[in-house]
C-alpha cells in the first residue's frame, strides 16, 4: 500500500483532490525536507532503489530540474525521458510510452504534457504513481503546493489570507491549481483578468472575480502574476501588449497600492515588461527565486509521501 503516510490517492493529478489535512501534511513535510537542503550533505536514503521517471512531453527546464533534484535528494534513481515532439498529433505514443515505463518498473512518473488530462490517461495505464507536473491548461498541482508553502512561510498562515491571481486565467494551469488548493486551505482568492481571459463557467470556482486590478491590490496579502503569451493578442484576447500591460501589468506604481507586508509571486517564466516590470520582479516583495527553492522541498515531500511509505523506506531515518 502506497500513500500510507496519509495521502489517500496513489497519484497527484489535481490539487483539488487533496483534502485540507493532506495538503497541510505535504506542506509540513516540505518544511522538514527544506532542512535537508541546509545540510552539508543534501541527501536522504529514503527512496533508495526506487525509480522516478521524469516524462516531459513539453519543455520545462525549471520544473524538470526541480523534480530531478528532489528525487535525487531522496536517493531515488532518476530517469529523464524527454519526449518533446511527441505532440498530441501523435497521441498514441503516450500509451506506448506508458507501457514502456511500466515494463521498466517505474515507481513514479512525473508527467508534463501539453494536453489537459494526459496524466489522468497515464494513470489508467501504469501501476506506479503519476505526478502531474503540468497538463495543458488544466492543472499544475506541485506549483500550487509550492506557492502555498511560500505564502505560509512569508505570512505564517493561509487561513483567510487574501490572494489575487492576475493574468491569463483562461489558459493557466497554475491558476486552476492555486484556486482549488488555496480554497481548501482557507484562503480568499480573487482572480483578476480582462473578461476575455477568464473561462466561461468561472462562476462555479471558489473565487471572487474582478476586472479591476487597482481596486483589488490594496486588499491583498499576496499578488500572484501569471504569464501572458504575446500570441494571445492575435486571437483578440486583448488589443495590444501595451494596453494589456497598462491595465493588468504590475509595475512599481501599482505595487505601491499593496499593503506593506504583501508579497509578489510569479510561477515563471516571466515576460518582463508585459505582466510584470523588472524592478518589481527583482524587488523586495518578490518571492520569485524563493518559490524556485521551495519547489524542491515541496516536490521532495510529494515524492516521499507517495512513495516513501512503501517497502524499503525507513521513515525514522528520513525525518
Amino acid at each position: 500500500m502506497t500513500g500510507s503516510m496519509g495521502l489517500s490517492s496513489r497519484h497527484l493529478l489535481d490539487a483539488g483532490d487533496l483534502s485540507r489535512d493532506e495538503a497541510l501534511l505535504v506542506l509540513d513535510t516540505a518544511e522538514e525536507m527544506s532542512r535537508v537542503g541546509d545540510r552539508a550533505i543534501k541527501k536522504l536514503p529514503t527512496l533508495r532503489g526506487r525509480t522516478v521517471v521524469n516524462l516531459f512531453f513539453e519543455d520545462s527546464t525549471r520544473t524538470r530540474t526541480s523534480f530531478e533534484v528532489a528525487a535525487k535528494r531522496l536517493s531515488a534513481d532518476v530517469i529523464t525521458f524527454s519526449a518533446k515532439g511527441s505532440s498530441v498529433s501523435k497521441g498514441e505514443s503516450l500509451k506506448d510510452t506508458a507501457l514502456t515505463l511500466e515494463a521498466m518498473g517505474a515507481d513514479a512518473v512525473v508527467c508534463r504534457h501539453s494536453a489537459s488530462g494526459a496524466p489522468h490517461r497515464l494513470a489508467n495505464w501504469i501501476r506506479g504513481s503519476v505526478i502531474n507536473a503540468g497538463d495543458g491548461t488544466h492543472e499544475h498541482p506541485t506549483q500550487a503546493l509550492l506557492d502555498a508553502f511560500t505564502m505560509r512561510r512569508r505570512h505564517g498562515r493561509l487561513e483567510d489570507l487574501r490572494v489575487a491571481i492576475v493574468g491569463d486565467v483562461l489558459h493557466s494551469r497554475v491558476a486552476r491549481s492555486n484556486v482549488a488548493l488555496l480554497h481548501t486551505l482557507g484562503a480568499q482568492v480573487t482572480v483578476v483578468a480582462p473578461p476575455t481571459l477568464l473561462p466561461v463557467g468561472i462562476g462555479a470556482w471558489p473565487a471572487e472575480v474582478s476586472y479591476d486590478l487597482d481596486a483589488v491590490l490594496p486588499k491583498c496579502d499576496v499578488v500572484m502574476m501569471l504569464r501572458v503569451q504575446r500570441e494571445r493578442m492575435n486571437a483578440a484576447f486583448f488589443p495590444t501588449v501595451r494596453e494589456y500591460s497598462r491595465r493588468y501589468g504590475l509595475d512599481a506604481q501599482r505595487v505601491a497600492l499593496l499593503p506593506e507586508d504583501a508579497i509578489v509571486m510569479h510561477p515563471g517564466p516571466m515576460v518582463r515588461g508585459m505582466e510584470i516590470a523588472s524592478d518589481v520582479a527583482d524587488g523586495m516583495r518578490s518571492t520569485i527565486t524563493e518559490q524556485v527553492a521551495n519547489g524542491v522541498s515541496v516536490r521532495m515531500a510529494v515524492l516521499y509521501l507517495l512513495l516513501g511509505g512503501a517497502i524499503g523506506a525507513d521513515e525514522g531515518e528520513a525525518l
Partner: protein, 441 residues
Amino acid sequence: MTQTFLRSVRPLGGDPVDVVLRDGIVDAIGPGLDAPAGVDVVDGTVIDGGGRLVLMPGFVDLHTHLREPGREDAETVETGTRAAAVGGYTAVHAMANTDPVADTAGVVEQVWRLGQAAGWCDVRPVGAVTVGLQGERLAELGAMAESAAAVRVFSDDGKCVSDAVLMRRALEYVKAFDGLVAQHAQEPRLTDGAQMHEGEVSARLGLAGWPAVAEESIIARDVLLAEHVGSRLHVCHLSTAGSVEIVRRAKERGVQVSAEVTPHHLLLTDESCCGYDPVFKVNPPLRTQADVDALRDALVDGTIDCVATDHAPHTIEDKETEWAAALPGMVGLETALAVVRHAVGDRLSWSELADRMSLAPARLGRLREHGRPIAAGEPANLCLIDPDLTWTVEAAALHSRSHNTPYAGLTLTGRVVATWLRGRLTARGGAPAGATVGASA
C-alpha cells in the same frame, strides 16, 4: 420464398396479433391466424411473442458513419450495416465524410452498391453539399440525385456549411429534386480547437470550450434562410436547449425545419468528460443536464422530429489517446433503442417511438419502403422488441468493427430481438442472422 410467422406480438405495443410475412411483405395480420405450412421454430421462421414482444417498423437512421471508402479499419458498409440490423434498423443514411468524400455520383453509387451487396439493411448515401466538404463550391448535387443511389439528403456533416451564400444556394438548389440539406451547425471560428462543451466543467478541466452559441447562431441563420427561400432544412444532432427554442419558434412560424437528436445527447452530460476518457469525446459535445432535459422534452413534444444515431466508429488508436488527440464520435446503432427508452422512459408511447425512430426519418429521407404502417400489403421492414429484457452493454460484444461505446457497463432495459428486411431475418437475439444475400430492391 421465405415465410415467417409471428405469433402473439404487439404491433406498436397494441393488442397481441399474429403476423405472416411472405414474399417480402406483411401478408396477413390479425388475431388467431394459422401458421402457414413449412414454418418452423428451429429455423426462426416462427417466433412466439408471448403476447409481450412489441412489433415495430424497422428503424431508419438519418445519420450513420459507415467510414467506407477510406477508413475501413474503423468500419465498413458490411460491418456497420450488420450492427444496424442488430439495432433494429432496416435503412441507414451513410454520411458523406468518407475518403474520398461522397461528393460525386461515382462515390455515392459505390456506397449504395456496397450496401446492396451486404444486404443487412438499405443504405441510402448522403451526398456532400460542397466539393470535398471544403465549403467553397457546390458539389454536383443533381448528378447524385439522379444516380442509382438516388440521393435525397445532402450534408457536409463533420463540417458546417458556414458560408451563408453557399448555404442559401444549396437550400434553393435541392428543391429541384426534393432534396434536403442537413446542416451540421457549428460556427467554425467560435469552435476553433474546441474540445468539449463550454461551461463550468470545461473551465475546471482546462479543455477548450465549444459554446452552445456556436450551434445556435448557425441554426438561427439557417432557419431564416430556409424561410426566405422556402426550402426544407434539416438540423443534424441538435444538442442545446437554445437550439430547441429556435427550432420550436421556427416551426410555429411555419418554416419547413426538421431536427434530429442523438441517443447520447438524450442521456449523457459534460460531467462524463471529467476522467478525460475520449470515449466521451463527441461533436457536438455532451452538454449540460438542462440541455438534456430540453432535448428530451423536445423529442416528446415533436419539436425534434427524430432520433438519429450519429454512429461514429473510431479505431482504438484514434481513441486511446490524450483527449485533445482523440477523434470525436461514438458508436450507437446497437444501443439506440434501449438508450432512448432509458432516457425518456414511458414519455414516448410505442407508436410515438416508431414515429421518432422510423416514420419521421423515412419521411424526411423520402424512403418509400420504410417507416410504413404495420398492415397487410406493406413491406416487411420490421423489428421485434423485448421491452423487459435487461442487458448490460459490453463494448467487445458489439457488431460494429469499432467498439467506442460510451455505455460500456451500463445496464439497459429493452432490446431488439429480431429484425426483418423485406421479410428476411437480418438479426436475431442481439446478433446478426444468417448469411447475407444481395437485396433485390
